[in-house]
């Protein structure tokens, strides 16, 4: 099994008058665990399906190891896919399910039996081989689908929200295992998810999709700490970043009528901006943007507080700052290193 490099160039997909993908460019390195992250309807699954050959792009090229595979049928590409619904064949036993891809390419019986055993052992379902999918739990079905995908030793491994049908605890366990499996097999994986936690924890790199476009590509750390646009900022993080409209003039940011001196913003000149502050970066101080505490909930050692700034809601994760009383008037301190500044018109990071 050799890991494949994948490249998409200018991929366009239209469904009637609706443009599902408006020019997708993407490079995935061999052996990389790459996530396509975005809200539903952003085009990530369509991109994956085009990679798999299940859908044809209306424009652009798909390359694998430099070879143009745009017009190849799914079976002619060296890819395997794990579907959200697992798509196991219900009339076949687990053994037959895993053996199916090998049977279809005419591998000898002994070889199949050997490979099925190996694949099943990889995902620890050796003891379930004679069962039918209907007799398996969700987690076991998912392993079976994984085994069927890895048995043929594909160069590219596509996963379409494979964890979304598992319960929360199992999801976290399987996530770790998935990563381990991908590393052990040294295969390129493209992983579609709308769950940022999954994407951030699994990926070597990820692409954030918004409305049929890729708005940012980078490592999880890069994307999280330096979101490229307002949309990415508002999508990532739980709860996501607080966004406040502000007026910037000579390093003075005016938020809800209160001007604050932020020297580092001087270079940006005068313009309308959106300030982004992660909930965990919100500090209450003696001076700053005035706010009112409307609600406060305790979550273990942290407090989540809802603050109103003007008519805007700001969520704050307060740690070791004491619990503010509801209805209390407070001030939010803006620390330059924690404030993300986006252009109001373009939405881009400044």
């Amino acid at each position: 099994m050799s890991a494949a490099s994948v490249s998409l160039a200018g991929i366009v997909k239209r469904h009637g008058a609706v443009t599902a993908l408006a020019g997708i460019d993407l490079e995935v390195a061999p052996g990389e665990f790459f996530s396509l992250l975005g809200p539903s309807g952003s085009g990530k699954t369509t991109t994956l399906r085009i990679l798999a050959g299940l859908e044809r792009a209306d424009g652009g090229t798909v390359r694998m190891n430099g070879k143009d595979i745009t017009s190849l049928d799914p079976g002619e590409r060296d890819v395997a896919m794990v579907f959200q619904s697992y798509a196991l064949y219900p009339h076949m036993t687990v053994r037959e399910n895993i053996a199916f891809p090998l049977r279809m390419i005419g591998v000898s019986k002994e070889k199949i039996s050997q490979s099925v055993k190996e694949a099943a052992a990889r995902v620890r379902i050796e003891h379930l081989l004679e069962r039918k999918p209907g007799q398996l739990s969700g987690g076991q079905q998912q392993r079976c689908a994984l085994a069927r995908a890895i048995v043929r030793k594909p160069a590219l491994f596509l996963l379409d929200e494979p964890l979304s049908n598992l319960d929360a605890k199992l999801r976290v366990e399987t996530r770790v295992e998935l990563k381990r499996l991908q590393r052990a097999l040294n295969v390129t994986a493209v992983y579609v998810t709308h769950d940022q936690e999954e994407a951030l924890s699994l990926s070597d790199r990820l692409a954030v999709f918004m409305e049929g476009r890729i708005v940012q590509v980078g490592t999880p750390e890069e994307v999280f700490s330096r979101p490229a646009t307002v949309e990415v900022a508002g999508f990532l993080g739980n709860p996501p970043m607080n966004l406040l409209p502000a007026r910037l003039e000579n390093g003075r940011a005016t938020v809800e009528g209160v001007a604050i001196q932020v020297d580092a913003l001087k270079a940006l000149g005068s313009r309308d901006v959106t300030l982004g502050i992660r909930p965990s970066a919100v500090r209450l101080a003696a001076a700053g943007v005035p706010a009112t505490v409307t609600m406060c909930e305790a979550l273990g050692e942290d407090f989540f507080a809802d603050l109103t700034v003007g008519d805007r809601l700001v969520r704050a994760k307060l740690n070791g700052q004491g619990r503010p009383a509801e209805g209390m008037r407070v001030h939010i301190e803006l620390q330059t290193e924690n404030v993300h500044v986006f252009d109001s018109t373009t939405g881009r990071r400044l």
Partner: protein, 275 residues
């Protein structure tokens, strides 16, 4: 409790009404001609097998007609399934521009009253010299069976998740092997129901068989009619022949009961039709 009892009584009543002619026929088939005509009708009588003897090995044997029925129904069913499965699969899956119109047309053919078609079919078959031939009758039956089978099968194929096929395509199965290895095994129940319905419909058919058949092709439904003549109706033999002719219907029905019930409720509950 009262609801249950009412339901029970009601269903018993329906079963009774439905069973009566069959039970009456069964009794009649074991009666001598004299017992049949006795008035008031007798429920207790001395049973005889003479009617069965007559319709099996006697001069009025219907065995050749049973063979005739079997040939017609068998070929009709086989050919119907051969064409209906790919057609239904295509209608259920492929994005064809005329799919909706085609589906409606298929169903619309079922709305024509058969009586209106007997004469045209007769003229057509006579033109090509196919009256009183197996191919002629099978061909005519196909025009009814195919649309019905396609329409029934489409709903079964639509039940099967598309992802299943996509998985098979990625597993390098190709369209035909996907159909064979993945789709057909899952639509097995629906296919069984369709086979049974098509077979029974052509087995029970009378109108076209009597007009388009003849001395060579004379299915059992038509042969039974021979026991009714101007001078006399041979009730005992007729009943015996009816029982024999009905046997495959009942046996098939019992064998496929489970599938048929599932088949008729397909789509009623999400995923209720499968498994």
């Amino acid at each position: 409790m009262i609801r249950r009892a009412t339901l029970l009584v009601l269903s018993l009543l329906i079963v009774l009404v439905w069973v009566f002619p069959v039970a009456w026929g069964l009794l009649t088939s074991f009666k001598t001609e004299r017992d049949v005509l006795a008035y008031p009708p007798q429920v207790v009588f001395e049973p005889t097998l003479v009617n069965y003897q007559d319709v099996f090995v006697g001069g009025a044997s219907i065995v050749p007609n049973l063979v005739s029925s079997l040939v017609v129904s068998g070929f009709t069913t086989a050919l119907t399934m051969l064409f209906a499965i790919p057609a239904a699969y295509a209608l259920a899956r492929l994005d064809l521009p005329w799919k909706r119109a085609g589906g409606f047309w298929v169903l619309a053919t079922q709305m024509l009253p058969p009586v209106g078609l007997v004469i045209p079919y007769f003229l057509l078959l006579r033109q090509v010299g196919w009256t009183d031939t197996y191919q002629g009758l099978v061909l005519v039956y196909l025009t009814f069976a195919l649309p019905f089978a396609i329409w029934l099968l489409v709903s079964y194929f639509e039940e099967i998740p598309r992802e299943m096929e996509e998985a098979a395509l990625l597993d390098r199965a190709g369209r035909l092997r996907t159909l064979w290895h993945v789709i057909l095994p899952q639509a097995k129940g629906g296919i069984a129901v369709t086979i049974i319905f098509v077979f029974l419909n052509s087995w029970n058919e009378f109108l076209f068989a009597v007009v388009l058949g003849g001395n060579t092709v004379r299915p059992v439904t038509v042969a039974m009619f021979n026991f009714i003549s101007l001078e006399q109706t041979q009730w005992g033999r007729l009943a015996a022949a009816a029982m024999v002719g009905m046997a495959p219907v009942i046996i098939l029905g019992l064998l496929a009961q489970k599938h048929i019930v599932k088949g008729l409720t397909v789509g009623a509950v999400k995923g209720g039709g499968r498994r």
